[in-house]
């Protein structure tokens, strides 16, 4: 009885934490829909902005998903799972990665100076550039999380079964394992797809600006306070939400169409040529892209570090006039303080979010009830600045008097959605039987969970913790606006100093953020390999 009550108390508290922010959003978000006659449609270039946003979203999602699928396929078929190859890009802060990438590969950029006749460089500010950067950034995200999802599937056994039925490994992979993997990746792909239309900072520096894409356009209106801009902002918020919906449908359609196509092949005689082409292609493609990723990440990291140390580095110089540690040393105190804030907030957020996610999954198991994923991931759909502005205009601050608490709640709330989409598919693919066995041996629910289920979930929990941590580390808008500057972090500092005309100081903070994220990833991969050892023995 008491146990029942305590489950319910936690449930109420958790649902309050998840739902209350929505209540505040509804208080502060105006219902100005972009109906056919709305002012938004009179804005010059809105059609282009919308079409370009959609194009960026569709293309980058499709390409990133395709690249990640081929890389994962090749690894699984050859039985050699990749290790720390693409992690460096995965952990790079978006903005910093884009800055360094543009600095290296655009006309007049570093490579252009090195090889003046090199062709095929990417233009500053264009649709193609933005799509390239998004694909470069999202593919490693999908590969890193995709490997983790794959580990939860008995895919080796399935491949073996397929082979024993006379199908070679490549064909077995695409017909048997891939559909299941893609299903496990669905939520993660949702996040990627929504991100690719909602992204602001990358679109501002690498995307087209005349007109800008919808998301940066929206932010521009939100930060202007005349009645027309405010009205446009309210209408564009809903348009962007709708665009997120379109992207989610796209992911579902993409998956459905692909799986349907593959299902048609089941039972058909294998086309030798196709298999050969596919396995050859995925092998070459995967080794080539992996090499490319490693190369690009090494170069961008080196560029970033160099930018933070180089003084007087202007076109057409290949090297700066001076190398100095000054930017690092002058800001050492600040860097230390900001790092502590960032780490403290990130870890606390990760603990809260991860614990909530684990608890909510267990509650669903215990009660044999699946909450619809979309409800839990709704936070990903609404543009972040719209959410935070709505909160500012609601009773949020009256309820959460402390700026620090306010920031922590917001971080946990945003992290929850991302953590959930990493953890939930993993948890669903894990058997509950050990936990039941534990309980039948007389252990309580959570003791049984700790001893029997947690060991199976190590990598899922580890990745969930890392993702929630990284989401917290990357927050600018809620940290600044809800924290009112009381809790400056490396990211708030990075974004603020990046708004200027130089890259030196931004490069310092970006390098640090990169380092923190990289360490986090390495630590998580350590737990993964430990688990593999345990599994083999």
């Amino acid at each position: 009885m008491i146990k029942r009550i305590s489950w319910n108390i936690v449930l109420v508290a958790l649902l309050a934490l998840l739902a209350l922010p929505w209540w505040f959003v509804l208080q502060g978000l105006s219902l100005q829909l972009p109906t056919p006659g709305a002012e938004l449609w009179n804005y010059p270039g809105i059609g282009t902005a919308l079409a370009n946003s959609l194009l960026v979203g569709l293309l980058s999602t499709l390409l990133a998903a395709a690249c990640a699928s081929l890389i994962i396929a090749c690894e699984a078929v050859s039985g050699r799972p990749g290790k720390n190859d693409v992690g460096t890009i995965f952990t790079a802060p978006h903005l910093a990665f884009a800055i360094a990438f543009l600095w290296l590969f655009t006309p007049f950029g570093w490579f252009d100076r090195l090889f003046p006749f090199a062709a095929g460089l990417v233009e500053q500010q264009s649709l193609v550039t933005l799509v390239i950067i998004l694909v470069l950034k999202e593919t490693p995200f999908l590969v890193v999380l995709g490997r983790q999802q794959l580990m939860q599937l008995p895919y080796q056994q399935w491949l073996l079964q397929g082979q024993a039925l006379g199908t070679d490994r490549t064909r077995s992979w695409w017909l048997v394992v891939f559909p299941a993997w893609l299903r496990a990746m669905r939520l993660i792909l949702f996040a990627v797809a929504i991100y690719s239309v909602a992204v602001v900072d990358l679109a501002q520096i690498a995307g087209p600006l005349n007109p800008p894409l919808l998301a940066p356009l929206l932010v521009g209106w939100q930060l202007q306070f005349d009645p027309l801009s405010q009205l446009l902002a309210q209408q564009a918020t809903w348009l962007l939400i709708a665009l997120g919906g379109v992207m989610v449908s796209w992911v579902v359609i993409q998956e459905w169409g692909l799986v349907r196509l593959l299902k048609l092949r089941i039972g058909r005689p294998p086309s030798r040529a196709l298999i050969k082409a596919l396995s050859g292609f995925s092998l070459y493609f995967s080794s080539a892209t992996r090499l490319l990723f490693i190369l690009i990440s090494a170069l961008t990291l080196a560029a970033l570090l160099a930018l933070s140390l180089g003084y007087g580095w202007f076109y057409p110089d290949l090297l700066p006039l001076e190398w100095q540690l000054k930017s690092w040393l002058d800001n050492a105190d600040l860097i230390l303080q900001l790092s502590l804030n960032t780490l403290g907030l990130g870890l606390l957020t990760a603990v809260i979010a991860t614990a909530s996610i684990i608890w909510l999954r267990e509650w669903q198991r215990l009660n044999q009830r699946e909450l619809p994923d979309l409800w839990l991931l709704l936070a990903l759909f609404v543009p972040q600045l719209s959410l935070v502005i709505a909160w500012l205009g609601s009773d949020w601050s009256a309820l959460l008097r402390s700026n620090h608490l306010s920031v922590l709640v917001a971080h946990s709330w945003f992290s929850f959605a991302y953590g959930y989409l990493v953890y939930a598919p993993t948890e669903r693919n894990t058997t509950q039987s050990h936990l039941l066995t534990g309980r039948s041996l007389g252990y309580g629910y959570w003791r049984s969970w700790w001893h029997f289920k947690r060991p199976l979930m190590h990598s899922g929990i580890g990745y969930c913790f890392m993702v929630t941590f990284l989401v917290s580390v990357a927050q600018y808008v809620p940290t600044l606006l809800l924290g009112a500057g009381r809790l400056p972090t490396l990211t708030t500092e990075l974004v603020a100093v990046s708004s200027g005309g130089e890259w030196r100081l931004p490069a310092v903070y970006a390098t640090l953020l990169w380092f923190i994220a990289f360490v986090a990833l390495m630590l998580v991969q350590l737990t993964r390999s430990k688990q593999n050892l345990a599994r083999e023995s």
Binding site: L165, G166, T167, G267, P269
Partner: protein, 219 residues
């Protein structure tokens, strides 16, 4: 040993553990179509490893040498999918995200049937095992005994000359076990498919054509 063209032969088999360097020498075996060979041994002795080696999987911790003839053809150096050997593992025998129809269709891909022929074949085979109603169900919606039958059916529909069964009945309760075992052996015999069954339980092997005991390790 006189082998006919359709016989399955296993000769000079040796399994060597890489870490301890212990060696297991297995006796030569010959299994005619429709015959079954049972291998008895305690859990953890290496029976499953042996089966996986026969299937053609490379195994990290052990090395297998020997000559393997399937339907009169030496297959020792062929990849798994070209050996003509089917396998039935003790758990997860079916792909959980595909219906019974799709699971069975996997086994038919090499036969070059039209879609209609394929459907007819699947329906007919399901009819034969009394499970016609289950055609569009997912494996998760079947009982353990039904899953075992579909698993075997799928293995057999790929038309292997030799089927390996790894503790195939261990997931079933005692009553169901005898039933499924008898059905399985009869089914394989009726279709003229040779089989090797490994188990730790003498009951499972009560009805096989030849019985072997897992040999002792040697240095």
């Amino acid at each position: 040993m006189n082998a006919s063209r359709s016989d399955n032969l296993l000769r000079q088999q040796m399994l060597r553990w890489r870490d301890t360097d212990k060696v297991i020498r297995l006796p030569d075996m010959s299994i005619a179509p429709g015959e079954s060979l049972g291998m008895m041994g305690p859990s953890g002795c290496g029976k499953s490893t042996w089966l996986r080696a026969l299937l053609g999987e490379s195994i990290g911790y052990a090395r297998f040498t020997g000559e393997l003839w399937v339907a009169g053809k030496e297959v020792s150096d062929l990849p798994i999918e070209q050996r003509g050997i089917g396998i039935l593992l003790q758990d997860n025998p079916l792909f959980p995200h595909y219906s019974v129809r799709k699971n069975l269709a996997f086994a038919l891909q090499r036969q070059g049937l039209s879609r209609a022929q394929q459907t007819a074949e699947i329906e007919q085979q399901l009819e034969a095992v009394g499970m016609a109603a289950a055609i569009d169900r997912l494996p998760g919606q079947l009982s353990g005994g039904q899953r075992a039958r579909i698993g075997l059916l799928r293995t057999v529909m790929a038309a292997p000359a030799l089927v390996l069964l790894d503790e195939p009945f261990s997931a079933l309760d005692a009553e169901r076990r005898v039933q499924v075992r008898d059905w399985t052996l009869a089914f394989l015999q009726q279709r003229g498919i040779a089989s090797i069954i490994v188990s730790h339980d003498a009951e499972d092997l009560a009805a096989v054509t030849q019985q072997f005991k897992w040999p002792k390790e040697q240095n």
